[in-house]
Symmetry: C2
Subunit: 451 residues, 2 copies
């Protein structure tokens, strides 16, 4: 059963994801919305499972991290304090002739923008490109009935600031003591000039961010701790260890707020290669001190036992939920030949806890009471986890259909079932079938899902 | 133990929600963002539990509803087709003197706007109010580098349209047959002129919407079915049946797209009284036919067994997640005296499945091995559900603190625990304590949570 993952699976995944209902282009019937995607029936379950695993690992299973769900629309001063209004920009150039706009570093531009030699990559005119001007990547809108500068609000470009401005509210209401963290899952928006690569870089995306507040001086200890924790989490999703690596930000790469930063990169293969799916950052006291300055509110933590006040340092872990979903899909995708069968199969080797459908239930034939038995079993299992009942076509085809969407188990009701009440459970990866009592199926599969 | 729910609990809830970490004003340190709220550590768990119950009831436990997670940013033509660009408006008037803007029906305006007699409620000038003009309630932004009319996109004012434009993608990828539904949970945004009443009417909010696609002629049957299903769901959350009622839209109230509409209203008490928390609507084929017309794409369903094509009718169920969260809080809030105690208590009588913390774990005193035993039990329980360990203060105070946030069970480790390994479980509502083996606690509570 030799498995081959094509060198660049992205194209195949886009097609599979549409055909099987994982991911659709947004507003497709209107020609699509620029680099925005909708999650279909299987995609929404996959992403929910991924987010639930993060929430469990980062919030519910720990006593030192609190959850939060801050709003997308925040006070505009937040983004002045964070530095986004001033520095979250890309340099763009305009063509005075055709009115198109480009990134200043667009490789299709010939010559230096702003000089007479520069040539527009669209209309081909010379000397029409403006000097680069800074373009802010935040989406802007107006709140209230009047559209003026006083009513500007932004769609948040990251969830982290919602955590910083709530630091004292959370700390005081929960009586947490430093070190502790605040975690949040939510949408963020960036008006990217060059989005792309399916759901890898999109204008609307979802983040899973955790900010860990620590005493200054202990920050590098916690930074190392979180690097290891987060890498292990990605491995626990089944991502191949050899496809994961750390990338340390050099001094030149470091953001203005960061004292140290590592990306966790995943090898997407093909032309994408290793790309960031999570960032672990030591942000020092940059954020809290800026919000203290801009809001005029003290954000210091009072360390009662030691009778001292300080502004905590922050170690941040920031995962892209969509990127990690894509990593899980790329990691799991394989095409393989099956011994003794002429037709190959496509498999999504998803971790059982992430698979959108946990079990397919099939009556071998559409008679002799098998459909009724299978439907009853399906209804029972559905109260515990998502299952799919399928009675159409040859049994081999039904297995293949489930392999392709990552269903880890398939249960078949056959002639023997009608005699002794046993069914077969087929494993997606090993293709082994075991025969078990029908009334033990729920318990057996549930046990495997929680390991 | 006579319980009294104050006639208007909203004010008390706002305070409790902030103090205990359910809900904070957004960007509070900057003076707040207009009618936007953040969910704190307990609020995010409460709302997650509510959403999970809806998702389970509407998607996972059924074989005729598929999940979806469409993006917030959609193609702008979607909102022309839906009618929102043309008709999702409020009439506003401007004061030419002080430049303020008001709803035309603002009761503080004296006289008829646009006439010389009309008096501005802010500056007091006469004859300065303009005639009413229509103001669209959708938040508008620009996608891409150029801010012009071709790059306008809207923040969706409802999630439903994401379902309609994906109708065929979902139907074809899942091979569902009409009647079937598509369900979605997600944020929506409305630039309300008069938001208010805490999280009841906010500019950023979350909807749980399901669109059920049926054959024309069967729509009123399904409409009645969903009315009953949805009312029962609210009752299953523990909302008092006498606080729930249907409100039928009269012909005058019916939206342009609706053939029939009922609101499910909840009695919030006080000045709010009965207000809509969910709408059940028979939308006919309005939406699909409009999207067919505006996109130029056929959206008909092919009924293979009967070899016919038709545009399905839609029965919609649309719940406000924030409103229902507020209903659950209002419904559960009570202040009561306890027999034999001088101090009363405040209780949030939340359904155990919704409670953010499922159990408090308390060592009776901070010695004799009780804290160690309690911490070990806490760590074990935390792997299954959220728990809170508390060793500070008198035991009575610790019970009260959990009562106030709706924790259904409190487990106390006492002297007898150290001898025979038993603990007490105290029930929030009955105040009864039962003594059970410590190693049975997880199983006992888990069983109660799932009923």
């Amino acid at each position: 059963m030799p498995a081959t993952a094509p060198s660049d699976v992205l194209e195949k995944l886009v097609s599979l994801c549409k055909r099987r209902g994982f991911i659709f282009q947004s507003s497709e019937i209107y020609g699509g919305t620029g680099s925005v995607w909708d999650y279909g029936p299987l995609g929404v379950e996959l992403k929910r499972n991924l987010k639930d695993r993060w929430w469990h690992a980062m919030v519910r299973a720990r006593d030192d991290i609190e959850g939060l769900d801050a709003a997308i629309l925040m006070h505009p001063r937040v983004w002045e304090a964070s530095g986004h209004v001033a520095t979250f920009t890309d340099p763009l150039v305009d063509c005075k002739n055709c009115k198109k706009r480009f990134r200043a570093d667009d490789p299709k531009i010939k010559g230096t923008p702003g000089t007479p030699d520069a040539q527009c990559p669209v209309c081909g005119m010379k000397g029409t490109l403006s000097e680069p001007r800074l373009f802010n990547l935040m989406f802007k809108t107006y709140m209230g009935p009047v559209e003026d500068s006083a009513s500007i609000v932004y769609l948040r470009p990251e969830t982290a600031q919602g955590i910083y401005v709530n630091f004292l509210n959370v700390q005081q209401s929960t009586r947490q003591k430093v070190p502790f963290g605040i975690a949040q899952i939510g949408k963020a928006f960036r008006n990217e000039i060059t989005p792309g690569n399916f759901i890898f870089r999109t204008r609307e995306f979802e983040q899973m961010e955790m900010q860990f507040f620590v005493e200054p001086g202990t920050d590098m200890h916690w930074f190392e701790y979180w690097k290891e924790q987060r890498l292990n989490w990605h491995k626990s999703l089944g991502l191949a260890p050899e496809r994961l690596e750390f990338h340390q930000h050099s001094k030149e790469e470091l953001a203005h707020y960061a004292r140290a930063a590592f990306d966790i990169q995943f090898d997407f293969g093909g032309t994408l290669g290793f790309q960031e799916i999570e960032g672990v950052h030591n942000r020092g006291d940059f954020d809290l001190s800026r919000h203290q300055e801009y809001s005029g509110k003290k954000l210091e933590y009072f360390d009662q036992p030691n009778n001292k006040r300080f502004l905590p340092f922050v170690v941040e872990t920031s995962v892209g939920a969509d990127r990690t979903t894509l990593a899980v899909l790329v990691n799991g995708y394989r095409e393989e030949t099956v011994e003794g069968e002429s037709e190959g199969r496509t498999v999504l080797g998803l971790h059982p806890s992430l698979a959108p459908i946990k079990a397919g239930v099939f009556p071998l034939v559409k008679k002799d009471g098998m459909p009724e038995f299978a439907e009853k079993l399906t209804a029972e299992l559905r109260q515990r986890f998502p299952v799919f009942y399928d009675e159409s076509g040859a049994i081999g085809r039904r297995y293949r259909r489930q392999d392709e969407v990552g269903t880890p188990y398939c249960i078949t009701i056959d002639g023997q079932t009608m005699q002794d009440g046993t069914v077969t459970i087929r494993d997606r990866d090993t293709l082994q079938q075991e025969r078990v009592a029908a009334d033990a199926v729920a318990r057996i599969i549930q046990a495997r899902l929680s390991t």
